[in-house]
């Protein structure tokens, strides 16, 4: 509940503060950074989510909200400060999440339709 409000606030802030850094990262470097910083451990290698973390790809939230969340969250996810996760790495991670292809329709996967 708390969190959703915070996320919402971050999105609004992102829309207002148009001067904030735009993301122009590299998806390839981002995949490595995503693994190195351990995001995959809670969100899965493809951002699909797990018991430990929500789905964050495909179609990640706007960059400003994303960045604000990762830097300042105080919920179940640990915050990542700049000293640990640089702006460049964060932009690359975002580019990687943007590059994750849309999920297939589960109906087309025989193993999911026994």
């Amino acid at each position: 509940m708390n969190l959703n409000l915070r996320t919402l606030a971050a999105i609004v802030a992102g829309l207002v503060l148009t001067s904030s850094v735009a993301a122009a990262g590299s998806a390839e470097k981002g995949k490595a950074a995503y693994v190195r910083h351990g995001c995959w451990q809670c969100h899965g290698f493809d951002g699909q989510g797990s018991v430990a973390g929500s789905k964050i790809a495909p179609n990640p939230m706007p960059f400003e909200a994303f960045s604000d969340f990762v830097r300042t969250t105080s919920g179940a996810m640990p915050p990542y400060q700049k000293a640990i996760l640089s702006d460049d790495d964060l932009a690359d991670i975002y580019a990687y999440l943007q590059s994750v292809p849309k999920a297939r329709d589960p109906k087309t996967i025989p193993l999911l339709n026994p």
Binding site: V35, G38, G47, G49, S50, P78, P106
Partner: protein, 625 residues
Amino acid sequence: MARADADPKIDRRKFLAGVAAGAASAMAPPAARAAEAPAQTTPRAPSALPPSAKTVEAETKTPRELARVPGIAGSDFMVDVIKTLDIKYVPANCASSYRALHESLIDYGGNRMPEFLTCMHEESAVAMAHGYFKVAGKPLLTLCHGTVGLQHATMAIYNAWCDRVPVIVIGGNELDAAHRPPGVPTIHSAQDINALVRDFTKWDDTPVSLQHFAQSFVRAYKIAMTPPYGPVMISLDTGLQQEPMRDDGEKPYIPRYVPTSPPQGDSGAVKEAARLLANAQNPVIVADRAARTPNGVTLLVQLAELLQARVIDQGGRMNFPTTHYLTAPASAVSNADVIIGLELSDFWGTVNSFTDNGENRGIGQNSTRINPDTRLISICAVDLNTKANYQDFQRFQVIDVQMAADAQATLPALIEAVRSAIRNDRKSAIAARGESAKKAYAEMRSRARQAAAVGWDASPISTARMVMETFGQIKDLDWSLVAAESPRFNWPHRLLPIEKHHQWLGRAGGYGVGYAAPASVGAALANRDLGRISVCFQPDGDLMYAPGVLWTAARHKIPLLAVMHNNRGYHRHRLSQARRVDGLVGERPDQGSVRAWSRPQGSSRDGESGAASAARRVDATAVMP
């Protein structure tokens, strides 16, 4: 101690002890030996001498057969006692402190019922017994060196304790300080070896006569097997094992084992619980270790259908079919007005949430997940068996109706009481509840499939796909999912049709990592005898604690499909650290070595048994970029 009047002249096992003591003194410092030796007059010998015939024999040949003790050896009688209880296997790591019993099991007992299984670590031996019980419903015996071996076994005993699983542990111990050999056998002795595990065993004893042993062993078995089940410990004096039985015509008797029936909930409390459930708008059933046997599942389905109440299966056992439309996620507690918890290990955690985020002056956030007027009912046999030191009883939760009783044993009475408490005018509301549960269930399944589809084609393979690809291989067989340790890894319960009691066995209980590999091998042993295929999703860190259990699986031809969940790290631990530090040295075992380990131990894909095809699967699953 009885040992004082034993006849030492004819005791083969004392002879064995003598050999051990001789070996110990051969290891004495050279100075001490020089002091005993006659003065040297011969010229200095060359520094390297060929080994003597005796050394060659000791190093290269099977030890010679020794003469048997006349009459009956004490340890032979112990085998007679053990055999009355129909125990099939003794997974154990060998040790001199129980050598007489070991020898009697093989030579006198014929190594059948029980059969000795060679284990590489006492922790593996106990965990094998743990996994075995959850399939077979019968306990195993394990033997260990009373001090160092028991020290190795402790974590697995703690897991069995927390998971309410019976394991019978015998530790050999040389009590008689005046007779036991000095050196190693004395270092390996203690006044009271059982003290080490007393806080997390149901009962322990130190028999001092053969008659006492017979009573202790049958009592230990009976206590372990009375719900709530739990591990028990017997300290077995080496002297008592090695003595011949007295020849005065009096033979110790072996008490007959008669199972104790489990405790059933008080009839008044059962009635009150039934009244609350029958009148509830939205009752929810939560089960953790409720179904001890397949019948427990049948009963739970009956109760749920009678009430059309949704069931949250917390997975301590297979309690409720994942394919049943009344299956509900953990969040279903939030709309409940009555919640009944069956053998919950953590009632507080079921109805509250805790976020370890450093808030609230550093202790994290606690918040309730239920409405303030939700009524709570509990049936839990562990209430009868709470000890003070180890904190497996979890946070305190106030409960409205609580029964210190076994849930499965209480269900028949509860079902009857609910049936008579449901008024006719409630029946249509109950049926409507069922219809909305069906819708919620269909949505839940569809969400799970959609989540599984994300990253379906990704490399490394997603964990959802790993589970479903594995299932694709076994679905037409009689399969048993024997372990999938991480509670974060919930794909099996989200995606698989888990319908039978043996298709899911629950977890370690005490969260002692290093459980999955040996418990899987133990469960696979029981499944092997029942003609089933065992599968586990094997965490990498867990396997690396004591990978020698793969050798045991190969050696004793125990088939197990172990699919490596090779996330190359101590993932769950990392989660708890993530907030504070960005990666610690020591959080990532070199997982390349999972493969390196399993091959030389004879369990690779070319291995004799097909056991633990872990080695092959490492390549196939999550190899990180």
